[in-house]
C-alpha cells in the first residue's frame, strides 16, 4: 500500500491537477528531507511550536510567580532546572511561555513584511515608469528609518507594547523584500513566457498575480527565514529598551536585558534566554537554507 | 603516430533514480588527424571531451582502462600533474566565447595570463607572443583587440580570441566542443579555416565535437557517431553518406536539404537496441 502510494507520488505522468501538485510537493519534500541540516532546523521549530502550544502543561511553575527569597538560584537547583531570575521567577517556565511571544512576533512580521514587499516590488517592477519611481522612492524612505527611531515614534504615538513593536519592526523590514521582488520582476518581465501570455490578451493584474508572484515567492520565503534571526533580535532589542514586551512579560529579549546586571556572578539569567534565541535563529537559518535548495533549483532546471 | 589512446571510458553520475551512465565504454585513438565526434544532446559527446581533460568533478565518476597521451596514462596523474597537461598539452575551445572569456579582464590580459601560466616569460615577451597569436587567427588590429574587453567583441572575434588563447601554449591536441554553433553561418567558415590552418601547421590532433553532421563530414578526416553514451559507428568523413548504422542514416535523412526537396522529413525511429549494443571501438 505504501509502495503504491509512493510510486503514485513519484510518477512522471500525473493524471490530474491535484495529482500533479501533490507529486510536486512530495518530490520537494524528498529533496528537503535529504538535507540533514535543514531537517534539524525543521525539527527544532516543530518542537518550538509544540512547546508554545503545550506551555501550560510543560511549565513547572507560574512564569509570573515571584519568590524573592529564592532569587538568582543557579542551574540544577531543586525545582528550578534552569535557575531563577532576580525576582525569584523560574527561568524554565518563563522560557517556555516566552516561546509563545517569540512565535507571535515572528509570525506577524513574517506575514506583514514580505507580503507588503511583494505587492510593492512586483507592481513597481512590472508597471515601470512613474509608478516604479514613486514606489521605489517610498521604499527608500522606509529603508532610511532606523528601526529604533521608528519604534520610538510609534510608542510616543500609540503607547508601548508588543503589537506596536511588531508593527514598527514590520515597517522597517519590508523594503528589502520589495527590492528583491522588483529585481526578480524585472528579469521575469522580459521572458518569452510573459510575452506569450501577453499575446493571449492577459492584463497586468493577471500577469502579476498568476505569473510573477509564484516565481517571486520562493526567494521571499527563503529571505524571510534567513531574516528571522534579525527579527527576533530586533524584538529583543526593543524589549531591552522597554519599547516592546512590557514587564513582567517573559519575552526572551526582555529576559536578557533584565539579566544583564548579573552577568558576572549569575551568568545563566541572561545566557539561558540568549541560548534560546540563538537556537531558534539557527533553526530558521538552516530551514531557510534547505528551502532555498529545494525551491530554487527548479527555476534553473533545463 | 598515436597522440591519444582512450580505452573503455565510462562516465557515471549518481541520481535519485540510480546511477546514470553518460558515457559508456567509449574507445578511440587520435593521431595527427581531425577526428569528429557527432551526436545529439545527451549522447555523451561533450562529456567525453571533458573526461579526457579530467574536468568532471565529483559526484561524477570517470573510469577508463586508459587515457594515454603519447604513451603516458592520464588517469594515473594527480590533479596537480593534470594542471600541467591542461592547456599545455591538451587544450579545449568551447561553444560560446561569452561564457568562456573572463568579462572583467581585457583580452590582452587573458592571453598573456594563458601564456605565462605555462612559460616563464617576461611581460613584454608574452605581449609580443600574444600579438603574434592574434595575427595568426586573422585579427587585423591586434593592438586594439588586446586593450578591449570581451563584450566589445563579436561572436566570431571572441571565438578567434579563444582559439588564440588556447593555442598559445602550443598544445599537441585541441578539443573543440561545438566551436562554431553560436556563430553566424558566414563567420563559421572563417573560424573553421583558422582552426584548420593552425592544426595542420602545428601537426596537432583535433577532436571536433558537434551536433552538425554535415559540418563534421566536411571538416574532419574520421567521424565517430555517438548515441546514448556509446559509439554506434565509425567511418571516414568522405564516406559518411554511405554510413551503415540506422541511427546515422536516420540523422542524415532527417535533415532538410536545399538540393533534395521533400514533402515531409524522415523521422528517426529510435530502436532501443542502439543503446543496448556495445560501443564500437574506434581504436586503430
Amino acid at each position: 500500500m505504501a509502495e503504491t502510494l509512493r510510486s503514485w507520488l513519484l510518477t512522471d505522468t500525473p493524471t490530474s491537477r491535484r495529482h500533479a501538485k501533490m507529486s510536486a510537493l512530495y518530490k520537494g519534500w524528498l529533496s528537503f528531507r535529504s538535507n540533514t541540516m535543514a531537517m534539524i532546523g525543521l525539527w527544532i521549530l516543530i518542537i518550538l511550536v509544540l512547546i508554545a502550544f503545550a506551555a501550560p502543561l510543560l511549565a513547572p511553575h507560574d512564569p509570573y510567580a515571584q519568590e524573592l527569597g529564592n532569587r538568582l538560584q543557579p542551574l540544577w537547583s531543586e525545582g528550578h532546572p534552569l535557575g531563577t531570575d532576580s525576582l525569584g521567577r523560574d527561568i524554565l517556565s518563563r522560557l517556555i511561555y516566552g516561546s509563545r511571544i517569540t512565535l507571535y512576533i515572528v509570525g506577524l512580521v513574517a506575514l506583514i513584511a514580505p507580503i507588503t514587499g511583494l505587492l510593492v516590488g512586483t507592481v513597481a517592477g512590472y508597471v515601470g515608469g512613474w509608478t516604479d519611481q514613486i514606489l521605489m522612492r517610498i521604499t527608500d524612505i522606509f529603508l532610511a528609518f532606523p528601526r529604533l527611531v521608528l519604534a520610538l515614534a510609534f510608542v510616543a504615538a500609540l503607547g508601548a507594547g508588543i503589537e506596536n513593536a511588531v508593527l514598527a519592526i514590520s515597517l522597517t523590514a519590508w523594503p528589502p523584500y520589495a527590492r528583491i521582488a522588483r529585481a526578480e520582476t524585472l528579469t521575469i518581465r522580459s521572458s518569452d513566457y510573459i510575452s506569450a501570455i501577453r499575446l493571449q490578451g492577459a492584463g497586468a493584474l493577471r500577469i502579476i498575480t498568476k505569473h510573477i508572484w509564484p516565481l517571486c515567492i520562493s526567494s521571499l520565503i527563503v529571505r524571510v527565514t534567513l531574516d528571522m534571526a534579525g527579527i527576533i533580535l530586533a524584538a529583543a532589542g526593543l524589549g531591552f529598551l522597554g519599547l516592546g514586551a512590557q514587564p513582567p512579560s517573559p519575552e526572551w529579549g526582555a529576559m536578557i536585558s533584565e539579566g544583564r546586571r548579573f552577568i558576572l556572578d549569575h551568568w545563566w539569567v541572561a545566557t539561558v534566554p540568549g541560548m534560546a534565541i540563538f537556537t531558534v535563529s539557527l533553526a530558521f537559518n538552516l530551514l531557510g537554507d534547505g528551502l532555498r535548495d529545494v525551491l530554487d533549483p527548479k527555476d534553473s532546471e533545463k | 603516430m598515436t597522440l591519444l589512446d582512450v580505452e573503455n571510458l565510462w562516465v557515471k553520475f549518481p541520481t535519485r533514480q540510480g546511477v546514470f551512465d553518460a558515457v559508456r565504454g567509449v574507445s578511440f585513438t587520435l593521431g595527427r588527424e581531425r577526428l569528429g565526434i557527432v551526436g545529439e544532446s545527451g549522447s555523451g559527446k561533450s562529456m567525453t571531451g571533458r573526461a579526457i581533460l579530467r574536468l568532471i568533478s565529483p559526484p561524477g565518476m570517470v573510469s577508463a582502462d586508459q587515457i594515454s597521451l603519447e604513451g603516458v596514462d592520464l588517469m594515473q596523474k594527480t590533479e596537480r600533474e593534470m594542471r600541467d597537461v591542461r592547456g599545455q598539452r591538451i587544450s579545449m575551445v568551447m561553444q560560446d566565447p561569452k561564457f568562456s572569456l573572463n568579462p572583467v579582464m581585457t583580452v590582452g590580459a587573458q592571453i598573456i595570463e594563458a601564456f605565462r601560466l605555462h612559460n616563464k616569460a617576461s611581460k613584454s615577451v608574452a605581449y609580443a607572443k600574444a600579438l603574434e597569436m592574434l595575427e595568426a587567427v586573422s585579427i587585423r588590429n591586434p593592438e586594439r583587440v588586446m586593450r578591449a574587453y570581451p563584450h566589445e567583441m563579436s561572436g566570431g572575434m571572441g571565438q578567434r580570441i579563444m582559439i588564440a588563447m588556447m593555442l598559445i601554449p602550443n598544445p599537441e591536441i585541441l578539443i573543440a566542443d561545438e566551436p562554431t554553433s553560436a556563430l553566424d553561418v558566414s563567420v563559421q567558415r572563417q573560424v573553421l579555416d583558422i582552426i584548420d590552418t593552425l592544426v595542420k601547421d602545428r601537426g596537432m590532433g583535433l577532436i571536433f565535437i558537434s551536433h552538425d553532421l554535415n559540418l563534421v563530414a566536411d571538416f574532419c578526416d574520421r567521424v565517430l557517431i555517438m548515441y546514448s553514451g556509446r559509439i554506434v559507428e565509425v567511418c571516414d568523413a568522405d564516406k559518411l553518406h554511405d554510413a551503415k548504422h540506422p541511427y546515422t542514416r536516420g540523422l542524415l535523412n532527417s535533415l532538410p536539404r536545399l538540393d533534395a526537396p521533400r514533402e515531409r522529413l524522415e523521422v528517426l525511429k529510435r530502436d532501443p537496441e542502439w543503446a543496448k549494443a556495445p560501443s564500437v571501438s574506434a581504436r586503430l
Partner: protein, 246 residues
C-alpha cells in the same frame, strides 16, 4: 488578397542619440495559406519584425495590415485571435511553475472559450502529445515536447496567421524533423498562413514558398524558394549567404 501586408515598417529601440534602428523600411506581403520565410544573420532584424507585427515592440511606424484591416497601435483582443506566435527557445517560453494543462487552460479561458476541458485534450492530440502530458511541468518535458506545447498554445485561439521565430534552432536534428513535419501538417489541416524566421536556409527552403533576405535591418531581396534551390540569388549578400550555407 494578402493575409498579411507589411509596408515601410521601421522599428527602433531607444531614442535621440541612443536610437538603434533595428528594422528599416521593410515591406512584404503574404498571401493566405502561404508560408513566408525571413532569413538573415544575427542582428539582421528578422525576429524584431515578428515582434513588431505581434505588438511586443511599441516603437514602430509604417503600415501593417492583417486580412486587409490596418493594425492599430494598441492591439485589440481580436487581433490575438487572428495572429499568434511561437518563440525560439523552448526552455524559456513556458512558465516554469505552470503545468501544461494550466498553460493551455489559461489561454483558452482568456480567449473566452467555455469547453476548455475538451479543447485542451484536442490540442494536445493535434500536436502529437497524448493525455499523459497534460499535467506535467516544463522541467518534466524535453525540448521538443515543450515546443509542441508552445505550438498548442499558439493554436488554442484558432488563429489564421502563425509567426514562427526560429522554432527549431534550439532543438536536436531528429527532433527538428518531427516539429517541422508537425508544422507542415498543421498548416495543411487548418489552412494557416506562416511567417517563419530562421538563420538556416535549408529549413526555410523546406518549409516556405517565398522568402525575404535581411541584412542590417533591411530586406535586401525577396525571392521564390525555387530560385533559392537553383542558387539564383540576385543580391550579392543573398549569394554570399547561399554560398556559405551549402
Amino acid at each position: 488578397m494578402s493575409m498579411l501586408s507589411v509596408k515601410d515598417l521601421n522599428v527602433w529601440f531607444g531614442g535621440g542619440r541612443d536610437r538603434v534602428d533595428a528594422v528599416k523600411s521593410a515591406s512584404f506581403d503574404v498571401a493566405e495559406g502561404d508560408s513566408f520565410g525571413i532569413v538573415g544573420e544575427s542582428g539582421s532584424g528578422k525576429s524584431t519584425i515578428l515582434r513588431a507585427i505581434v505588438g511586443l515592440n511599441p516603437t514602430w511606424n509604417g503600415q501593417i495590415k492583417v486580412n486587409g484591416q490596418p493594425v492599430p497601435k494598441r492591439r485589440p483582443k481580436s487581433f490575438y485571435k487572428t495572429v499568434q506566435m511561437v518563440f525560439q527557445d523552448p526552455y524559456a517560453s513556458l512558465h516554469p511553475r505552470h503545468s501544461v494543462d494550466q498553460v493551455l487552460g489559461e489561454t483558452l479561458h482568456l480567449h473566452g472559450f467555455s469547453d476548455i476541458e475538451a479543447r485542451v485534450v484536442k490540442l494536445l492530440d493535434d500536436v502529437g502529445l497524448g493525455r499523459d502530458f497534460r499535467f506535467r511541468y516544463p522541467h518534466q518535458l524535453s525540448g521538443g515536447q515543450r515546443q509542441r506545447v508552445a505550438i498548442a498554445r499558439a493554436l488554442a485561439p484558432e488563429p489564421r496567421i502563425l509567426l514562427l521565430d526560429e522554432p527549431t534552432s534550439a532543438l536536436d536534428v531528429s527532433v527538428q524533423a518531427e516539429i517541422l513535419n508537425l508544422l507542415t501538417d498543421l498548416r495543411a489541416e487548418h489552412g494557416l498562413t506562416y511567417v517563419m524566421v530562421s538563420h538556416d536556409l535549408s529549413v526555410v527552403g523546406h518549409m516556405c514558398g517565398r522568402l525575404a533576405v535581411m541584412k542590417d535591418g533591411e530586406i535586401v531581396e525577396i525571392m521564390d524558394v525555387a530560385a533559392l534551390r537553383a542558387m539564383q540569388a540576385q543580391h550579392p549578400y543573398s549569394q554570399q549567404l547561399l554560398a556559405a550555407s551549402v
